[in-house]
Symmetry: C2
Subunit: 229 residues, 2 copies
């Protein structure tokens, strides 16, 4: 494989992310434990997130607004101002979490550096993803960061058009089969799946992928022989 | 002037925006008129917006969260869930406003079409700006849209690096001297100011600009002779 551009997903591919969301949701569940079970509350947040996607898109601000919607529904709008402030604080703290790189990420980037054009292609809040790339200390390995409003076939097509690159010269590396793999294969690109130990419910798919342009590795270091031969 | 890339700001340059925010703030002020004067409430929202910029950035989700912060402060956290829901609804309606082009915008784009690479360079929510460009009906005139997390010198430098273009071949057209003109002149680019009849307090500057790379026009049609000769 001799790709011109290698794109890395960010959250849970380059650095830890989902555990911070899990922890935030835990705190939310504790705050409203008198109103419903943890399972019910988690389901409610997910429903509000999915309902809000067309208007809010992805990212922590959308998540915060979905938590507030969930709190209003849980309490039948009898929530106190103090608890609204606590929910907002959960979101604000998420936006300030330290960026902790996944193992071997920097070593892999060092080995690819100068051999390919590397970019970051991620969903989420624009400001937040720029902040995290800056704080990560690995920003200098990347030509730039593409914060995408979604990761559908059309979004990838637009991105490749903008980068002026053929799909066959593009490889996407990420932890989500739904967002990082399927749409890229659909438009004729290459995709490498590197699973993270936990996946957001929304990103799960329940079938297997077999495709000549697809690989799945347990460890990010395994991409090196494929991309440097 | 023979620029390679002509970038247009979006809000209040291509389509109306600020009046929608003004209307949203009016509704917020009415909702909390028992707590403070309109002037005080507008000042409070602005303070929260500026305080929240480093974490939330620009856009309607940030604005909604800043309205909630303002409502909590105004009511000393005694706000009802019903009123929180009303504030969120003000934000949701902002995200669904019709996109109304400014006069002559489409005619100007038609005349520049094919002669230059045209892009949109805007702040705001990623999803929202993509939605507006789509709904505007003028998306096909542009190579792509750059949603920027801010419009400082550094942000423009990064964008030009990504677009692989020299500042001297870049012209930015917009209604904000602070965001669309000053930083672009600072990095060696060209800038054209086309004022809108109302400006967000945050974007105001109180000095005049004199610079060989700077022009100010009352009407967007005036850019045509400059850019097509």
């Amino acid at each position: 494989m001799t790709p011109t551009i290698i794109a890395f997903d960010a959250d849970d591919t380059l650095w830890h992310n989902e555990p911070y969301f899990d922890e935030a949701q835990e705190r939310f569940c504790e705050l409203f434990q008198d109103f419903a079970s943890k399972q019910e509350i988690l389901g409610l947040i997910l429903n509000h997130q999915i309902k809000n996607l067309p208007l809010y898109g992805f990212g922590i601000k959308a998540f915060t607004l979905s938590m507030i919607d969930s709190a209003l529904e849980l309490t039948n709008q009898s929530i106190s101002g103090q608890n609204i402030a606590k929910v907002i604080q959960i979101g604000r703290e998420l936006l300030q979490k330290p960026v902790e790189l996944l193992p071997e990420v920097e070593s892999v980037l060092q080995q690819l550096n100068g051999k390919h054009k590397l970019i970051v292609a991620t969903k989420g809040d624009l400001k937040d993803q720029h902040r995290k790339l800056h704080d990560s200390g690995i920003g200098h390995y990347f030509h730039h960061i593409e914060v995408m409003s979604d990761k559908t076939d059309v979004d990838y097509k637009k991105m490749l058009g903008r980068l002026d690159i053929e799909p066959n010269n593009f490889v996407m590396i990420g932890n989500s089969l739904k967002s990082d793999v399927l749409p890229v294969l659909n438009i004729g690109g290459h995709a490498i799946h590197i699973p993270y130990h936990t996946t957001w419910e929304y990103e799960k798919i329940d079938f297997e992928i077999n495709h000549p342009n697809f690989k799945s590795f347990e460890n990010i270091t395994q991409i090196i022989p494929l991309l440097t031969n």
